[in-house]
């Protein structure tokens, strides 16, 4: 043990090292890997993974807001879905970073929604379907004229025997393959959703089934070849290659990719958040060879939800090192729209929560006032239209109140006023708690009223009608 101890001499400097090549304030912090592959062990044999390959690979985000997302809430109205689809197209941009989104096809409303979304004429996200793996459902896909559909091919014995009541795995596999054949015959690409994969018998059912799917795919044109969605239905997936099957995400991907031969561009990860691992697991899937990471807007999905699409978008930028046509400001618009249709978003929710970049502690506000980068994750004003804010309480301090005042009057550079000039407002705030025994935070409206009263000169300069009209 002692032989591993190493001295670490201080590298003294009078100039700060802000590590700008990673923390470029104009982008989410970049995710950078060392220039060599990592060696992991699968079944006791060394295997190399090159995480830098994500820069060249056509990794994408796929969406299931209208399918899994809608299973977790009352149905959306048709116009609401069309509006969300339209915004999703802007978010993913012309390069199709959000490559596909899937639709139910069962009701008249489902089909009308699909038609209206396609009428918008967006190239991306491509519209795909979702059906059970039964032949009768396939008629719906054909009628809708879709090129691809997901189909539920549950893979664990919990589903095969206990839910779907098959008498044997062979009967189940034959049944699934019949529907895959029907898809081929109709010229539609089947996307097999390996439901409950992280609780399945991988060697006993999953790999033989995928082997058969690959064999069937070799008999059809490439554009019809089966895609495979790895569904972590209960959120059991684990990011370590050393974890045992069926829970190791790297191991599952490796076996499907290298042993069964499913190419990366036909592998997709679909996670659930039952153990708080959902976003990291989706990124892990990208890194280990799944090109598509499936998710829902704001993570809204069955039970604890799915990987949040907007989180995957930020991760995509961080991995690729650029926006690649993505319009991140749409994320804020989407959140506002969701709130307007009674879909609450927690105040501390990353990127879109009301207080995601609001600081309450005076010591943090002091940092923000000196340089917003000290306590802001990236340029949230530029990327999300959300400048960093302070919420005013007894912990805010004069620094935080000065920051609020400067933001309120829109003062920048040399025009920004010091905390000396706002001392009356700071005293009023503190007295609210020390004298009035207040227990709630102070609203922007209250501060506005006090600012007008306690700092009339400042108000006249920056908020008088003449100034406002200028």
């Amino acid at each position: 043990m002692s032989s591993q101890i190493k001295k670490h001499p201080l590298i003294d400097t009078t100039e700060p090292n802000h590590i700008e090549d990673t923390f470029d304030y104009d982008l989410p912090p970049l995710i950078k890997f060392e220039d060599h592959p990592v060696t992991e062990y699968i079944d006791g044999k060394p295997v190399e993974f090159d995480f830098n390959s994500v820069k060249e690979r056509d990794i994408v985000v796929t969406d299931t807001t209208f399918r899994d997302g809608q299973q977790a809430r009352p149905p959306y109205e048709i116009d609401q879905m069309v509006k969300i689809y339209d915004m999703m197209a802007r978010l993913g941009g012309p390069n199709g970073v959000i490559r596909q989104t899937e639709f139910f096809l069962y009701t008249k409303n489902d089909r009308e929604t699909l038609d209206k979304c396609r009428e918008l004429g967006h190239k991306y996200p491509e519209c795909t379907g979702w059906i059970r793996a039964v032949k009768a459902d396939f008629r719906l896909v054909k009628e809708a004229g879709l090129k691809e559909t997901g189909m539920l091919t549950s893979s664990s014995d919990y589903h095969i025997f206990d839910k779907l009541k098959f008498k044997s795995r062979k009967e189940c596999m034959d049944s699934y393959c019949e529907v895959v054949d029907a898809a081929f015959e109709a010229g539609v690409r089947p996307r097999c959703h390996l439901e409950d994969l992280t609780r399945a018998d991988i060697d006993g059912f999953v790999l033989p089934f995928v082997d058969r799917l690959m064999e069937m795919s070799r008999q059809v044109p490439e554009e019809l070849a089966v895609k495979v969605r790895l569904c972590d239905t209960m959120g059991f997936g684990i990011g370590s290659p050393n974890a045992e099957l069926p829970r190791s995400i790297p191991k599952l991907i490796y076996k499907l990719n290298k042993e069964c031969g499913v190419p990366s561009d036909r592998l997709e990860w679909h996670g659930h958040n039952d153990f708080h691992k959902v976003h990291t697991n989706a990124t892990t899937a990208w890194l280990y060879g799944c090109d598509a990471a499936n998710g829902t807007l704001f993570g809204i999905g069955e039970r604890t939800g799915n990987p949040p699409v907007e989180g995957s978008i930020m991760e995509y930028i961080a991995l690729k090192g650029g926006l690649c046509g993505i319009d991140t400001t749409v994320i804020t618009e989407m959140a506002e729209y969701m709130r307007s249709i009674d879909l609450p978003i927690p105040e501390n929710y990353p990127f879109v929560g009301k207080h995601f970049n609001t600081t309450r502690a005076g010591i943090h506000a002091g940092g923000l006032r000196q340089n917003e980068r000290i306590y802001n994750i990236f340029d949230t004003t530029k990327l999300l239209g959300r400048p960093p804010k302070v919420a005013i309480t007894d912990k805010t301090g004069a620094d935080g109140i000065a920051l609020w005042v400067n933001e309120f009057f829109g003062l920048t550079g040399d025009d920004r006023i010091s905390k000396i000039k706002i001392h009356k407002l700071a005293r009023w705030v503190l007295d609210q708690y020390e004298v009035e025994s207040r227990l709630t935070s102070i609203s922007d409206q209250e501060l506005e009223t006090q600012t007008r009263e306690l700092m009339p000169d400042l108000w006249a300069k920056y908020k008088s009608p003449a100034t406002a009209n200028a």
Binding site: G397, A398, S418, K419, I420, K421, H423, A426, R427
Partner: protein, 84 residues
């Protein structure tokens, strides 16, 4: 006319609610006189008002004792041409 030191002590006593006569030149505003964070800001604002000067925020807040406040204010008054 009162000296700079007397005026500093009067302002400090009024704001911190202590007898100006009990304030010593070497007293630390925080440790000895009990000024809290917000009161430090209020003291600087009150000195600006008392002497009719503008002080650099960071430099003013770095002053910790009554004596050094007297020196700092004297220097600022001289720089800004304010009669004391």
């Amino acid at each position: 006319m009162a000296t700079v030191e007397e005026r500093v002590k009067q302002v400090t006593g009024r704001l911190l609610k202590i007898d100006p006569a009990s304030i010593k030149t070497g007293d630390n505003f925080g440790a000895d006189l009990g000024a809290e964070s917000i009161q430090s800001v209020e003291l600087v604002a009150s000195f600006e008002e008392e002497f009719g000067i503008e002080m650099d925020e960071d430099a003013a807040l770095a002053v910790t004792t009554v004596g050094s406040a007297v020196e700092f204010i004297t220097q600022v008054c001289n720089e800004q041409g304010v009669q004391i």
